[in-house]
Every structure is written in structure tokens, then in C-alpha cells.
């Protein structure tokens, strides 16, 4: 029996997607019919099979299995988990975009969902027109929008550009305007999905600040999904950790983040297929990463080793050259450093090739890490174009070998993740000024 101040009660929620190929009752595999033509074609070609197998079995993928949790009024709760854990599916069902397959949700209060920044924005319309459009799509009436129009414009800082089409906006302006509209919704429950990932740090601070204000000053409930663990720790008090569609932890945020980091490392896999995983930053798409792998049996490196992996790339267009870059992240999502590779020879359209990528002696402190890898051209000096970017992949661990002495033996967390090169020190050459200093020093008690 849910308590009276529970605003969201999720009970045994499950969602099943039928994927890819169908398997008929006697085991025959037929292609998923995307068109009427295929459905008719199949019926005509195999009429007996079609008649017998009308109840075809489809392969099921359970994005959520039996998830249950409760959110109380005024709470700011985070939902965290790896890619593919079911977070976005959960939010879609809570926002009534998808229907659940099993289970039940009880929600008390008006819900507003921010699953994407700038939903409904149309490039040809001006900023002013898009405010009305976006606000209406998010559920505000025109009267409400008119009342808050000035506040929205002030928050977004685009007053001078209100009457130009949005396609002329910089990406920062676009994101600020989109968030400004959403920030002025007044729902009782706000559901936010990783929208903070977009925009620069000033914008992210502003968004976080607004969300904090929304929850503290107005007592609204916020359900927040993010990969940015520092934002999660800053904003939320309780968190739910999802893994493969199940709730594996429900409790205080600090412990939840630890559970999440553990879940990241539990899968000691050396192979990461990424061809079909969704991309947070799509890039131009002229090339696509198919998979990454470590050429070893466990994803464990010692601090003095080169960090090496093999990337398999497919070129969707003919590329004159390709360049790789990589960012290493802590499990909390804090970037440690980025590096760029040299240009590699180009690829023909349709070609698949493996590249050996190696970061010489990164000297990372022991602990768990993951990477984001990008393929593109150019670099931070000349400007960049990204073909494809995969984040939250290549999870690995740096473990010091037994008997490693010296500075590596105990490396406190507060010293950071990178073991910088040893300091070079020597006594400075003596000069007249320093003689005086030396004399003074001699006078000090021993």
C-alpha cells in the first residue's frame, strides 16, 4: 500500500520489444516484414507455412523486467545505469510515450518530460515562434506561455535573436532557448533525461541551478537520468541503479554511484560490439565503429603498460583519411584526458578495417576507467569534424602488479588519476643573491 506522499509508484514494470527476425513455430527464420510487400510476399510464397505459423514467435528483448520503486513528493531521484540498462525505456513509459508490457505505474500529479532538448523545434521558424511551439508540445497553454515569455527569454539570453530563424542560431543558443522553455514548465513531477550532456559548462551550471531551485523552492519531484555522476551526486539524494532492465539498487546516492561503478566493471569483457548501440553524439556518420576489443584475456592493464585496443571501423563513404581520438573517463564520468592520433590512410566506401590504437604509457593510477573514442578528421588545433563517437565503452581496469613498490604502492584518490612524470629536481646554481640566503639559513637553529 503506497504511502500518501508517494507520487510515483512503479510496480513490477516490464517492457518487451520484439526485435529483428521472426522465428516461426517450427524454427524457420524469416525476415522481419518491414513492408506490406514482404508480408504479402511471404504469404504467397509459403502459403502452408504462413497458415500454420500465423502465431509466429518473435524474438523478444526485455528492456525492463520487473522494475519496482517509489518516489516521494519533493524528492529528487536519479536513475543511473549503463547504456542499455533500460533507463530511457523507463522514462518513455513514465512519460506515456510507450506502453508497458506488464506491470503498473501510479502517478499523482502533472508530469512533464524532458527527454530531448528542443523537441519540436523547427529550423525554419523564428525563436519566438519556436517558444510557442515547443511550449505547447510540452503541455503549456498559449496563455501560460505568454505570461512566462519574458522570463523564458531572459533565461535563454537570446533577446536580440528572437526574430531570426532558429537554423541561424549557434548550438549554444539553440540549447539555451530549448532548455529555457522547458525550465519554465510548472509540473508537479519533472522527468529529465541526460539533457545536461549538451552545452558548455556555463549552461550546465545554469541547468543544474534551475533544477535545484525547482526542487528546493517549489517542492517539485524530479526524476533525473544522467551519466554525469558529479551532477547526480550534487543534485539528488536517492538513486535507483538499473542493470539489464532490473533494479539492482535503490538507496542513497553515494552508495548507488558505487554500485554503478561496480556494475560497470563486473562485466570483464574484452569485446565491445558497438555497431548498433545508440550514439549520444552522432557525428556525420561517414564512418561507423563496429566494435572494439582488447587483445588480451582480461581488460586489465598494469600502470606501466601501453594502453592498446583494436577498433573495427566501416567507412560509409570514401574517406581520404581518418584520424582517431580518445578521452579516458573515470567511472563517475569525469574526463581525465584526451589524445589525438596521427592521420591514417583513407578507406573506400563500404570497406571495413581494423586499426590498432595505442596510448603509450598513460600512467593511470589503479582503478577502473572507461573511454570515449572518436573517428574524424582534424584536431583541436585546426578544427575538427567527427565521423562517429562512441562513449561509455572500453571499460578497463588498471591494476598494479603484486610487489610494486615506490609511489605506486599507495595512491590516494585525492592525488588524481594520472601519475604525472617524475619531477626533475636539482639544487639551483649558486649566485650572489642566494649566498645571502645561504648565510641567513646558517644562522637558523639546526
Amino acid at each position: 500500500m503506497p504511502q500518501s506522499d508517494t507520487v510515483i509508484a512503479v510496480k513490477n514494470l516490464s517492457k518487451c520489444y520484439s526485435i529483428g527476425h521472426l522465428r516461426t513455430a517450427n524454427g524457420n527464420k524469416i525476415c522481419h516484414p518491414p513492408g506490406l510487400r514482404h508480408a504479402i510476399d511471404h504469404a504467397l510464397r509459403h502459403p502452408i507455412a504462413w497458415w500454420k505459423d500465423r502465431k509466429v514467435q518473435q524474438e523478444h528483448f526485455w528492456a525492463l523486467s520487473g522494475a519496482s520503486f517509489e518516489v516521494k513528493a519533493g524528492e529528487v531521484m536519479a536513475v543511473i545505469g549503463r547504456n542499455g540498462a533500460g533507463k530511457s525505456t523507463l522514462l518513455k513509459i513514465l512519460s506515456r510515450i510507450s506502453e508497458p508490457t506488464k506491470g503498473r505505474i501510479e502517478i499523482t500529479g502533472r508530469v512533464a518530460s524532458l527527454l530531448e532538448v528542443g523537441t519540436g523545434f523547427h529550423q525554419e521558424l523564428t525563436g519566438r515562434e519556436n517558444i510557442f511551439l515547443n511550449g505547447a508540445i510540452l503541455g503549456m497553454t498559449r496563455a501560460e506561455i505568454r505570461k512566462k515569455f519574458d522570463a523564458i527569454v531572459a533565461f535563454s539570453e537570446v533577446e536580440n535573436f528572437l526574430d531570426t530563424p532558429v537554423k541561424r542560431y549557434s548550438s549554444g543558443m539553440y540549447v539555451r532557448l530549448a532548455f529555457a522553455v522547458a525550465a519554465h514548465l510548472e509540473p508537479e513531477i519533472l522527468i529529465v533525461d541526460e539533457v545536461l550532456a549538451v552545452g558548455d559548462s556555463a549552461f550546465q551550471k545554469k541547468c543544474l541551478g534551475k533544477m535545484q531551485e525547482v526542487s528546493r523552492n517549489h517542492g517539485r519531484t524530479v526524476l533525473f537520468v544522467s551519466h554525469n555522476m558529479s551532477a547526480v551526486l550534487q543534485l539528488t539524494t536517492r538513486a535507483v541503479v538499473l542493470d539489464k532492465g532490473r533494479v539492482i539498487f535503490n538507496g542513497p546516492t553515494e552508495k548507488a554511484v558505487e554500485e554503478y561503478a561496480d556494475a560497470l566493471g563486473k562485466d570483464s569483457t574484452v569485446f565491445f560490439p558497438v555497431e548498433d548501440t545508440p550514439r549520444k553524439y552522432p557525428g556525420s556518420g561517414v564512418a561507423r565503429f563496429l566494435s572494439f576489443r582488447f587483445d588480451r584475456s582480461m581488460p586489465i592493464f598494469s600502470p606501466d603498460e601501453d594502453f592498446q585496443f583494436i577498433a573495427r571501423v566501416r567507412a560509409n563513404e570514401t574517406l581520404p583519411r581518418i584520424r582517431f581520438s580518445m578521452t579516458v573517463f573515470t567511472p563517475e564520468g569525469i574526463p581525465i584526458g584526451t589524445c589525438f592520433g596521427t592521420e591514417q590512410p583513407g578507406m573506400r566506401r563500404g570497406e571495413e578495417r581494423e586499426f590498432e590504437i595505442s596510448l603509450p604509457r598513460p600512467r593511470l593510477a589503479h582503478g577502473r576507467y572507461c573511454c570515449g573514442v572518436s573517428a574524424g578528421k582534424g584536431d583541436h588545433r585546426v578544427g575538427m569534424v567527427d565521423f562517429d563517437t562512441v562513449l561509455d565503452t572500453l571499460a578497463f581496469e588498471v591494476r598494479r602488479e603484486e610487489g610494486d613498490g615506490g609511489t605506486l604502492a599507495e595512491w590516494p584518490r585525492g592525488w588524481g588519476s594520472v601519475i604525472l612524470p617524475d619531477l626533475k629536481c636539482r639544487p639551483a646554481a649558486l649566485a650572489s643573491a642566494s649566498e645571502t640566503f645561504t648565510n641567513n639559513v646558517e644562522m637558523l637553529p639546526a
Binding site: 510487400r37 512519460s95 506515456r96 508497458p100 508490457t101 523537441t119 519540436g120 508540445i137
Partner: protein, 275 residues
């Protein structure tokens, strides 16, 4: 949702109850999406809204030329006017059907990222086609002046015929929109229907002297009755309409509307998953 602060229950297969309330809550979206489609159509064009007029005019010229070549009898009416009156409701129906058909696919980003009753999307496409219809219909007035044709008394029934046309356009729109999401082939089927349909919808009076049963069968195509009735309201008894045909067309229209609504609602819950 019983009230704003009541408890909303989301369960598999039980999302019907709040749907109609939500339609009312999101009523402004009907207007806004139509307004958006209207605006973007004419932004950055030189001629702007005049396109809504130029298109039917060009069609009338083409149809009139074909009609003259075919030597059809227009019951004493000037051919341009005769064909224009036939073309107006047809254009409304065909553009509504094609635009609604593609409306869900074109708004796939909205459908997969926000919640609102999806019925709004094809309905707003029909509204946009309706405004095109109004703009073109306004041209009837100077045209009738020019040919010195006075409207008959039955012109007061014109709004009813237009309403029937609207119902048909909406029903067809719902059907095609829902079907296109699941079977993308319909994107190609619809233009074909539109091009073929001109010939079987009574714009060309080819069945004027045909046997009564043939005419009755033809009027199972709901546009036939509507176009005939439209012409009769505007041009009078030189373009008579048979009541039986009108009844048949109207009943088919109602069936299309209700069944379209039902099919749309049934498949709506899977839109976000398959779009």
C-alpha cells in the same frame, strides 16, 4: 486521470480512459501544428500563400483541356467552372490524405520524445489542407461573377457537403497515417491512388449516361457523391445529384471515419516503438 491531482494509472492495455481528456488538454496543439506546417510551407518562398491558389488553377486548366478533348457534356455550364467545382473537393480530399499519411512519419521526433494524443498529428494536416481548400474556394466567387452564373437556393447546403468532405478526408487520413507507420509502402501507394482517383471520382462526367446500377456502384467511392453534391449546390440543377448515390457515399464516409479512428487508436500504442 480523474482530476489534475488524481492518480494516473499506467497499465498495459488500459490507457483509453484518459485519452479524450488529454485530447481536450492538448487542443491548442491542433492549431499550433497546423500553423507550423502552414508557416514553413511558405517561408522563404517568393510567391508565398498565392501558391494555394495557383495550384488548383493550373489543375483546372489541365482538367478543362482534357475534358474538352474528351467532349464530355457539362450540362450547359461553362467547362472551366464545371471542372473547378469538381476539383475543389477532390483536391481537399487528396491533399488531406497524402499529407496526413506522411504526417506521423514526418513528426517522428515528436512522437518518440513527447507525449500528446497522436490523433492531433493527422488531424492538423487535414486542417492545413482545409485552409488550402478555403483559399481556392474563395476563387469561386470571382469565377462565377465572370461567367454570370447565379448560385441556386441549394447553396445553403454547401457547408454540410463541406463537412462531409472534411469527415471523409479525416477518416482517410487516420487510416493512411496509421498504416504508413507500420508499412512504409503506403508512401508510394497514396500518390498512385491520388492520380488514379481523378478519373473514377466523377470529376469527369463519364458515367452520366451509364446504367443506374453502374452509377450506384461507382458511388461506393465516397468522393463521387461528395463531388456531385458540391457541384449541385454551387451550379444548380444542371448538375443533378441522385439522392441514392449521395446516401451511399455518405454512409461509406461515416464508415471510413469511424473505422479509421478505431484502427488509429488501436495501433497508436505501438507508434513510438516502431516509428
Amino acid at each position: 486521470m480523474q482530476t489534475m491531482n488524481g492518480t494516473l494509472v499506467i497499465e498495459a492495455g488500459h490507457t483509453e480512459r484518459q485519452y479524450w481528456r488529454d485530447l481536450w488538454r492538448f487542443r491548442e496543439l491542433f492549431y499550433l501544428l497546423a500553423w507550423r506546417d502552414f508557416l514553413i510551407r511558405y517561408k522563404q518562398t517568393a510567391v508565398g500563400i498565392a501558391w494555394a491558389l495557383i495550384r488548383p488553377l493550373l489543375m483546372v486548366v489541365a482538367v478543362t483541356l482534357v475534358g474538352k478533348a474528351g467532349n464530355f457534356s457539362t450540362g450547359g455550364m461553362p467547362p472551366a467552372l464545371f471542372y473547378f467545382c469538381g476539383l475543389l473537393p477532390w483536391q481537399f480530399f487528396s491533399t488531406a490524405m497524402s499529407e496526413s499519411g506522411n504526417s506521423l512519419i514526418n513528426n517522428s521526433n515528436l512522437i518518440s520524445k513527447t507525449y500528446f494524443p497522436r490523433l492531433v498529428v493527422p488531424a492538423s494536416s487535414v486542417i492545413v489542407s482545409f485552409t488550402d481548400f478555403l483559399v481556392a474556394a474563395a476563387f469561386l466567387i470571382p469565377l462565377m461573377f465572370f461567367y454570370r452564373v447565379t448560385p441556386p437556393p441549394q447553396i445553403i447546403f454547401l457547408p454540410l457537403v463541406v463537412l462531409l468532405n472534411f469527415a471523409l478526408a479525416t477518416g482517410a487520413g487516420f487510416w493512411i497515417a496509421a498504416l504508413t507507420v507500420k508499412y512504409r509502402d503506403f508512401r508510394f501507394v497514396v500518390p498512385f491512388i491520388v492520380q488514379f482517383g481523378i478519373f473514377v471520382s466523377g470529376i469527369y462526367p463519364i458515367t452520366n449516361h451509364a446504367h443506374e446500377t453502374v452509377r450506384l456502384i461507382c458511388s461506393m467511392n465516397p468522393t463521387v457523391g461528395i463531388i456531385d453534391a458540391f457541384r449541385w449546390c454551387v451550379l444548380g440543377s444542371s448538375a443533378p445529384v441522385q439522392p441514392s448515390e449521395l446516401w451511399l457515399s455518405s454512409s461509406v464516409t461515416v464508415v471510413v471515419l469511424l473505422s479509421g479512428l478505431r484502427y488509429f487508436r488501436k495501433t497508436e500504442r505501438t507508434f513510438a516503438d516502431i516509428i
